[in-house]
């Protein structure tokens, strides 16, 4: 029986950069999938590309690849990643350079076509309304503020790259899970309407795409029991066919794999468990069962799939003003009372400066900044508390008004406060416009290039 082992090497842009290398070095896998994109990432990368035409992708991938390449060649491991972000071609060029520098001979596959920023008006002309799928609103008012527009696509073009012999596949906004479905569909020859099989690949991807969050990270069940968190082992799935898989973790590393750790990831960011909508298949995880079948080995069974949707999700990022956040700590005695007094004074100062804000929010870190109205009132006195003040404005200039207001408090405000990091800097606020478009409105192209 053929079994394919795939590693989940990255949960987001900013995850432990050495993780894919640790998987490759310590264990035996045929593929490693590395997810770098969250909902907001593409808007940030879009802005980076505007400033520098060579930027706009996850540069950390290249840094990591320099260490990974020698092992890839030796162990014949293939890597799939959406590190291409908003600039797949620049990521491919950097990858080719890394391969040449390492003196290797490999094939690089890539997919373009998810970035439809330049064809928004054309799509509108074709009668594709792009109304907001959550609110039903018309897209027209945000058209001037658009930063990026990317379609979430599935495994098909990635499979094309693998068929072309690619050792490394770099894409932009594919779904996270299709990075894992693609190698399985390629290896087992799953057809594009073999829904139960495709759903198995999506389940595999869903469990691996957040890296160590399934193997002992963010482990609510019993975080104290996680071995070697400083060296946490990233997850590996073993798939032999449709409907089931085994999930384990990298050998000789920390972390764990239990039915509870898998449960916590299974419905992470999923709404209706019977209908996990992806471009490849409508996956149903609701009947999944879990069984511990060995140390750090969990058997997952019962995933089903149904016909994929006729539309694809298009996510439009647009700019929505600025945000600025500042922090000011206060010490015992009377820490909270001092922080509350400082808050009132800062709000008065901002009013005196004529701040025009859409929203102002204040929290007390150490008391209620996470659970807000649900936080319990502290009966005993706090040792220290941090005043947090955040403003949202239409312009950068307005948001900047908060920045110089904090430091003077150390001399002018209630006693015993100190600096918390540097001066606050306004940051651009991005909002997302989710909408659906017909599949045939999008043209995705897969390429494979030989590099030596």
């Amino acid at each position: 029986m053929k079994t394919i082992r795939i590693g989940g090497g990255q949960g987001f842009w900013g995850d432990l950069n050495e993780a894919p290398v640790n998987i490759a070095r310590n264990d035996d896998v045929s593929y490693i999938g590395c997810d770098y994109l969250a909902e907001l990432t593409l808007s940030i990368m879009g802005r980076q590309r505007e400033r520098n035409p060579q930027a706009g992708y996850a540069r950390d991938f290249i840094t990591m690849l320099n260490d990974l390449l020698p092992i890839l060649k030796e162990k014949r491991i293939k890597v799939l990643t959406n590190a291409g972000g908003m600039n797949v071609k620049a990521a491919v060029e950097a990858t080719k350079q890394a391969i040449k520098t390492a003196g290797l001979h490999l094939k690089v596959g890539y997919v373009v076509g998810d970035d439809v920023m330049d064809s928004i008006l054309e799509l509108k002309k074709q009668g594709i309304g792009m109304t907001n799928m959550d609110t039903g609103e018309s897209i027209d008012p945000i058209l001037p503020a658009i930063v990026n527009a990317n379609v979430y696509y599935g495994a098909e073009p990635i499979i094309e790259c693998l068929k072309g012999g690619a050792d490394i596949v770099i894409v932009g906004r594919s779904t996270d899970s299709s990075l894992f479905l693609a190698p399985l569909a390629y290896e087992f020859g799953w057809k594009a309407d073999d829904w139960d099989s495709l759903a198995t690949g999506i389940l595999c991807g869903h469990l691996l795409e957040c890296g160590a969050q399934v193997s002992g990270g963010n482990y609510d069940y019993d975080w104290r029991s996680v071995p070697q968190p400083e060296n946490i082992g990233y997850p590996i799935a073993e798939v032999s066919g449709p409907g089931e898989l085994i999930i384990t973790k990298t050998k000789n590393q920390g972390g764990l794999m239990t039915t509870q750790s898998v449960k916590e990831q299974l419905f992470y960011e999923i709404h209706n468990p019977e209908m996990y909508i992806t471009p490849d298949v409508m996956a149903d995880f609701s009947k999944c069962t879990l069984r511990q079948v060995g140390e750090n080995r969990v058997f997952v069974q019962g995933v089903r799939g149904e016909k994929r949707p006729d539309t694809l999700k298009l996510c439009v990022g647009y700019t929505e003003g600025y945000r600025n956040t500042a922090y000011l700590p206060f010490s015992w005695p009377d820490a909270l009372e001092k922080a509350q007094s400082a808050k009132e004074t800062i709000l008065k100062r901002l009013k005196m400066k004529g701040l025009c804000a859409e929203e102002i929010r204040t929290d007390f870190v150490g008391l209620n900044s996470l659970h807000g109205p649900l936080a319990s009132d502290m009966k005993e006195e706090l040792n220290e508390v941090v005043l947090r003040i955040a403003v949202k404005t239409k312009t950068k200039e307005e948001a900047s008004k908060l920045s110089p207001e904090i430091a003077p408090f150390i001399l002018n405000g209630p006693p015993a406060s100190c600096f918390f990091g540097g001066r606050a800097k306004p940051e651009e606020v991005f909002a997302l416009w989710p909408t659906l478009i017909p599949r045939d409105a999008i043209k995705l192209c897969a390429y494979v290039e030989e590099v030596k």
Binding site: E264, F267, E269, H271, T289, D363, H371, V429, F430, A431
Partner: protein, 106 residues
């Protein structure tokens, strides 16, 4: 006997736009009934008063002794635009765990 939900359940929260979902599992099968009867869409809505303004759906995953809660208008407009410290609602599951549950003494 009153306990915190954290003592009998574990879970995780995540975000999609302004929607926060929390998957919640009984720490032992014997707690499933108490969770089912006391951690309902209504009681969760009441618990999150002042934080979650939209509807709440609950999906039961019986064979895993768990539930998935989907909470709309839960993240102050969503991760990208909110002024919350925890923009992604990573701590929403922990907030739910503050709920007090009545257990039969045994």
């Amino acid at each position: 006997m009153k306990v915190f939900l954290k003592d009998i359940a574990h879970g995780r929260s995540g975000d999609k736009g302004d929607v926060s979902n929390i998957c919640l599992y009984a720490r032992e099968p014997k707690y499933f009934g108490a969770i089912k009867s006391q951690v309902t869409p209504d009681s969760v809505k009441k618990h999150f008063r002042g934080m979650v303004t939209g509807d709440i759906e609950r999906y039961e995953i019986r064979q895993l002794d768990g539930f998935n809660f989907v909470m709309h208008h839960a993240l102050d407009g969503g991760a990208t635009r909110s002024l919350r410290l925890d923009t992604l609602g990573k701590t929403m599951a922990a907030a739910l765990m503050r709920m007090e549950i009545e257990l039969d003494a045994d």
